[in-house]
């Protein structure tokens, strides 16, 4: 494997400047081993991904949602995916990812892009991983197109006889869509394709969004004088991004595409389209809105305000026309989701630490207050010259940490922004929070309840 590695690259500018002589000595020793270590890490990444996908394809696993047989042909190669096997694969993947980040200065761009492409390909041909969300997306689309039911007023239980209904997660059967009107409209053309066709359509959409996000990440990092290869490696090989985000065909990938498009456009001096891209992201998932105030404060261009306002106005007209007033009311959807509680959220963990059984309404209020303080501080910092991209990333990270409803793909939002900012604390914080999230999953490794 290691002999297949392309020529070792020179250390990139961001890594190589500050090393002392002893560090240089250590680096040269590591450089000798880098191809072999990178080969081992690559093999682990591929093996762990294959394990999850092949075992997941057999179905009958509590980790794999009930789904039409889109990857049944892979099932013969795997066994039922148990919690223990999955956790070992996830931990191995995470360790290899950390290793690859450490070795990134010696990896060629071709190697990084090849690895990212192969991982995407493996996950793309496999089953839907770890989440039923994609079936909710399809259900909302089919409600609107096939049944003439407004998904902002009714949950999938309104189409109980539709073939997608049986795949929708139990908790979401009565819940109307919380996604933005742009995403709902984007998903509408997939509705007539049937459940399996729409599922592949969602997977393709996720693939295109991920490819776009990574391409824009590369571009932004290069323009900002950072290593594009490291940036793409950090995002495209990230375990939560590839296994959970891409594996579940989550629309968060489209949100990240819109965010990176906005960053890329501002770097080209096109503030109005950049603000419109932020609004586009917001109309996929309301969380995307957090970039707009920081962009306006950081850029201080009239174009950003005009572009943002224009896009919002246009989108509001379209959303109102198609979905009525509920399609425009993103705040209501946010408030509804903010009330949910998941066992993996940090507020729940902290509540347990202090002997409480969980979070209470007062905790929700305190968390919102903490988030407001953080956002105000970041706005002040941005006004004083701090990078608006980093400030946006910190806000997205703060939202995921303070949210009582935390899912793996929420902690990925800040990652593409983190890798294109010079404040490396954001990347370190994002990866640290992800590591804690992964660590929180490991308890089944210690006790196997049968």
């Amino acid at each position: 494997m290691s002999s297949a590695l392309p020529a070792v690259e020179q250390p990139s500018t961001q890594h190589g400047r500050l090393g002392s002589q002893s560090r240089a000595g250590g680096d040269s020793r590591l450089a000798r081993w880098a191809p072999l270590l990178a080969g081992v890490c690559t093999a682990v990444l591929l093996a762990a991904t294959l394990e999850v996908v092949l075992d997941g394809a057999t179905g009958h696993s509590p980790l794999i949602p009930k789904s039409p047989q889109i990857a049944g042909w892979l099932g013969a190669l795997g066994a039922r995916l148990s919690f223990q096997v999955f956790l070992v694969a996830l931990l191995a993947f995470t360790a290899a990812y950390a290793g690859m980040l450490g070795l990134s200065r010696w990896l060629s761009a071709r190697w990084v892009l090849g690895l990212v492409a192969v991982l995407h390909l493996i996950v793309f041909v496999g089953p839907i991983l770890f989440s039923t969300d994609v079936f909710s997306y399809i259900a909302y689309a089919r409600m609107g197109v096939e049944h003439g039911i407004n998904p902002y007023l009714h949950g999938p239980s309104a189409i109980i006889h539709d073939p997608v209904y049986r795949y929708v997660g139990q908790s979401w059967k009565h819940v109307q869509t919380a996604y933005g009107p742009l995403y709902t409209l984007i998903s509408y053309p997939l509705a007539p394709l049937g459940v399996t066709g729409a599922l592949w359509g969602m997977k393709l959409m996720g693939l295109a969004a991920s490819a776009g996000t990574l391409a824009l990440t590369w571009r932004c990092a290069r323009i900002r004088g950072l290593s594009p290869s490291f940036a793409v490696l950090a995002v495209g090989v990230n375990p939560l991004y590839i296994l959970y985000g891409f594996g579940g065909a989550h629309n968060d990938l489209i949100l990240m595409l819109a965010m990176m498009a906005a960053v890329s456009l501002t770097l080209a001096g096109r503030d109005a389209p950049a603000a419109a891209a932020v609004v586009g992201g917001m109309l996929v998932k309301a969380t995307g809105a957090v970039l707009l105030p920081f962009m306006i404060l950081g850029r201080r261009q009239v174009g950003a305000i005009v572009g943002g306002a224009g896009a919002m106005l246009g989108a509001a007209v379209v959303a109102y026309t198609v979905f009525g007033v509920h399609g425009v009311d993103l705040i209501a959807a946010l408030n509804r989701n903010a009330a949910f509680v998941s066992t993996d959220s940090f507020p729940t963990e902290i509540a347990h630490l202090f002997g409480k059984p969980g979070v209470f309404p007062i905790d929700h209020t305190l968390l919102k207050a903490a988030l407001v303080v953080i956002v105000l501080h970041l706005m002040w910092r941005t006004w004083r010259g701090y990078d608006w991209v980093a400030a946006s990333g910190w806000t997205l990270l703060a939202i995921s940490v303070t949210s009582t409803w935390l899912l793996a793909w929420y902690i990925v939002w800040s990652l593409p922004l983190a890798v294109v900012t010079r404040d490396r604390r954001l990347l370190a914080a994002t990866l640290a929070i992800q590591a804690l999230f992964i660590a929180h999953q490991v308890s089944p490794l210690f006790v196997q309840v049968r």
Partner: protein, 169 residues
């Protein structure tokens, strides 16, 4: 901006960065401690759950896997109730034996110090419970009236000599 104000600005910026760094480290430490404590609690809960299931199977003599458990997950108590069918079948379709367990875990077992029976399909509430024994009888967990489906003979299947067996009342 003059040189002095630039220097002043830089020192202010570095002071803010230092404060931010301290806050970030403290937040991370809090989250890390909470995560580790939660994982530890989950492991303890799972360990207790496994012991409870093993104990129920040992006491009842049935190797059933579809058992329901009312588990105390906040770490402040160890009393739990495990219920399972007394004959093969889907969950709840037969008379159920419920065992009350508490105390520490030894050899992946726990002390079952009482219990009761539940008729098929009915919820575990006082009015549905019957034939209480051990601590359940002392605590008067059973309702006054026994349901029509009551099968006292099931009680006889309990193995009084089993490991940490339930005391029949």
């Amino acid at each position: 901006m003059s040189d002095s104000s630039t220097v002043q600005g830089m020192s202010e910026s570095s002071r803010v960065r230092r404060i931010e760094a301290v806050v970030l480290v403290l937040i991370f430490l809090l989250l890390a401690v909470a995560t580790v404590a939660d994982v530890r609690q989950r492991v303890n809960n799972d360990h207790r759950l496994l012991a409870d299931l093993n104990t129920w199977r040992a006491v009842s003599g049935h190797e059933y896997h579809n058992l329901s458990i009312e588990q105390n997950k906040d770490g402040r108590g160890t009393r739990e109730v495990v219920c399972g069918n007394t004959a093969p079948g889907a969950p709840k379709v037969h008379v159920r034996l419920c065992l009350i367990m508490s105390g520490p875990t030894h050899d992946v077992r726990r002390a079952a110090h009482g219990g009761y029976y539940l008729p098929p399909l009915l919820d575990d509430v006082r009015t549905h419970r019957y034939a209480c024994f051990g601590s359940a009888k002392r605590s008067q967990l059973c309702g006054e009236a026994a349901p029509a489906t009551r099968k006292v003979s099931v009680t006889e299947r309990l193995d009084p000599g089993g490991p940490r067996s339930a005391k029949r009342g």
